[in-house]
Subunit: 200 residues, 2 copies
DNA sequence: GTCTATAGACGGATAGAC
DNA sequence: GTCTATCCGTCTATAGAC
């Protein structure tokens, strides 16, 4: 923990505010709008300060990505221990804010090597955790893991949740209601909080 | 419509080359790299010509999006009549080039209203077609359409194919082999070109 | 149709004062 | 730590010659 705040602590730290401002601008207007000047203005400081805390803009982006990744990962690790781990993961991946940011970083990764490497490492850790959760849930219900590999189930849940968020962002909602109902029916079969058993 | 080509038409038209260059740059380096200067250079003309053919850069992006959309839609309409329509749609959506472009446009849509509206209209037409294909395939095999709504199946197939393309783009391939095998098993049940029922 | 030239805005990044 | 000032580059878009 850095710099124990003495008094009222009104300022919360410029570095932190810069990162938060970056997140907000990326979500609202896309990564291309997250320039040093705009980010600084939103954080209430001058552009030059960005380069005091971060060597380059890329470093700022990486810092933001890392922070979000760590936060997401710890939420997911928590979800594994949930009564209904699969539904917990479905809900986490249904968070529009997270999904929107992720899409921006995917696009950024297209032409910034550093971001791409970081994003890849993060995505792989997420898949590992989600697959672990699926394995636990499926095995507990005696599902044949050859026929329904946990990694497949975790990919379906995570990617569909994110895809729907991305669609909502551009105003597309066709089929979403049906998909949510379908997933609910599926999840209901693997909820540890209700007596087990495959219906049908 | 300008200048109907008479003879051999060796040059293919600057307008067309500009659009092709835009596609290529967007795919390789992201939409932010598709500037009037870079696009013009790749097309072998000067930047000012971009503004002769397109009023603004946004208009160029919209033109590119529309052209790609029409091409995709006609491929999909063809796929409906295929022996194995679901697999055909799976393959179309597994095209990395298409998926990459689509992701760039999604990101672009975040801060360009015009692009967003265009992308939404396109996405809805695609969903309609894909759902029609799924309806045909599922009904032909006597599937209970209440339990497995065609729109759900079409979303699962299309979005998973695209998600995997996006992951491959950043170097993530965990679980892909298992997912492809899983989808293959599923598709094999609904292929009209083999006697119905579960084979293999 | 295609070019040169340029206006005008904004970007990343640095030097150095306080 | 935070600021002012500045360098130098690229961007969109336009004017006007050929």
């Amino acid at each position: 923990m850095p710099a124990p705040r003495k008094h009222k602590d009104k300022d919360a730290g410029a570095r932190r505010r810069l990162m938060e401002a970056t997140v907000q601008i990326m979500r609202d207007e896309g990564y291309a709008a997250a320039t040093s000047r705009r980010v600084a203005a939103l954080a209430g400081v001058k552009a030059a300060l960005v380069y005091y805390y971060f060597d380059t803009m890329d470093d700022l982006f990486v810092a933001v990505l890392r922070a979000g990744a760590e936060s997401s990962l710890s939420e997911m690790r928590q979800a594994i221990t949930d009564d209904d781990p699969l539904r917990a993961l479905w809900l986490i991946n249904s968070d529009a804010r997270r999904a929107g940011l992720n899409t921006e970083f995917m696009a950024l990764a297209n032409h910034r090597k550093v971001i791409g490497a970081e994003l890849k490492a993060f995505a792989e850790r997420v898949r590992d955790i989600e697959t672990a959760a699926a394995t636990v849930a499926l095995r507990a219900h005696g599902v044949n893991l050859e026929e329904f590999p946990p990694v497949v189930i975790s990919m379906l849940l995570a990617q569909m949740a994110r895809s729907m968020c991305n669609e909502v962002a551009i105003g597309v909602t066709d089929g979403h209601q049906q998909m949510r109902a379908f997933v609910e029916r599926f999840l209901a079969q693997y909820d540890a909080s209700v007596p087990s058993g495959r219906t049908r």
